[in-house]
Amino acid sequence: MSCNTSVTHVHISSVSQAQRAPVHLMPCEIEHNGPAQVSQYLTATTKDRKYEKTVSFRGRGLKGQELSCPQGYTGLVLKEVVDKPGSDQEDRTVRVSSVFDKVTYWNLETPPNSDDTVVMAMDWPELAEAIHGPVED
């Protein structure tokens, strides 16, 4: 998509049919897109300890925690819809395939804490509201 005129449409009505799905942010790059037995391997072996969750992936120890979406925000997983042939080549279309309201993020060995970058990134919506909200006359 090099052309500035191309647009990606979001079929937003698909949100009503979207499944609520657990999402995990993993501290490694998994070179694959597709099915994975997440509940059988990851969820089933996750331990809820006092201040953290623990699990292992590929023999490496992970520590993590749940993070809620900022207030007024919803998690969406968008998936590209391959357009029928003959339709506009330039524009793309995505639909909402899953929704979530919390993220479980995992660190490699390090206990989760408030300095973790993904926790800090959740500051953004409220700062954005300050920067972009309307000012009084």
């Binding site: 990851l42 089933a44 590929r58 023999g59 490496r60």
Partner: protein, 308 residues
Amino acid sequence: MDLSSFEMDNSVSCRLASQIPDVCRTEDCCLGIDEAGRGPVLGPMVYGICFCPVSRKEKLKELKVADSKTLTEAERERLFQKLDESRNYVGWALQILSPNTISTSMLQRTKYNLNALSHDTAIALVQYALDNGVQLKEVYVDTVGPAEKYQEKLSQRFPGIEVTVKPKADSLFPIVSAASICAKVARDRVVKGWKFNEDLGDVDPDYGSGYPNDPKTKAWLLKYLDPVFGYPQFVRFSWSTAQTLMDSKAVPVHWDDDEEDGEKAAQRQNNKSMLSYFSASAGGNDQSQTHKTHRFFTERRLRSLNTL
């Protein structure tokens, strides 16, 4: 031997122990250390200690304990029964290192090798006996590595105790044979009754001895390889057998400490935030050359996009 505390959570390591015989708190004692399940790619490694008064060494011999490897499983169970019946003068303690503990330790950022793990486990067990008032005077250890260094390490750690580290100690000293029997019985029982934490339905229990060269073990490892997760926690991911199979049949997974030696890893820990940000954004992106993003965004790894 009640394994329920390990079976409740077989992803972590666990200590099991007999009662401490009263006589061991009043008389000079000897203690043997041995391990079971060092080589297999499956299941836990078990460290065992067994101790009794020095004065009862001969009596222990009469039990005809021998190196656990020369015995059948049935014989080991029978001998363990005998040891258990001698609980008025023989005590034991075990440390079960779960395969998950072995994997995550050996694959840790700052690698924790199997020898160090073994030594630390053995030391902790001796300390356990001391903490419980066992009057230790002699310690006998079976070893696979160089005996001298290990003996020196243990002697320094436990001054006043005569330490003997010897290859094949399990066939030379009955107290070591006894320890090896305890460890091996525990390992066999744990492997046999392994409860998979993964939700895999009925798992084929025909995994053989667990040694990498056992055809049954090999076949099992091929059958239970998951392309994303690799293996259940029953498998030691740090074994080259498992790694090789995953490299050829599972999807590649990359970690931020791949291809790093210790020094690089330490550097990375120090500079991670800065450098990973730049390596991620180095290859062409939307930001013009002169524009510098505010640190609110760089610290949070937030950037604008020019395409989805």
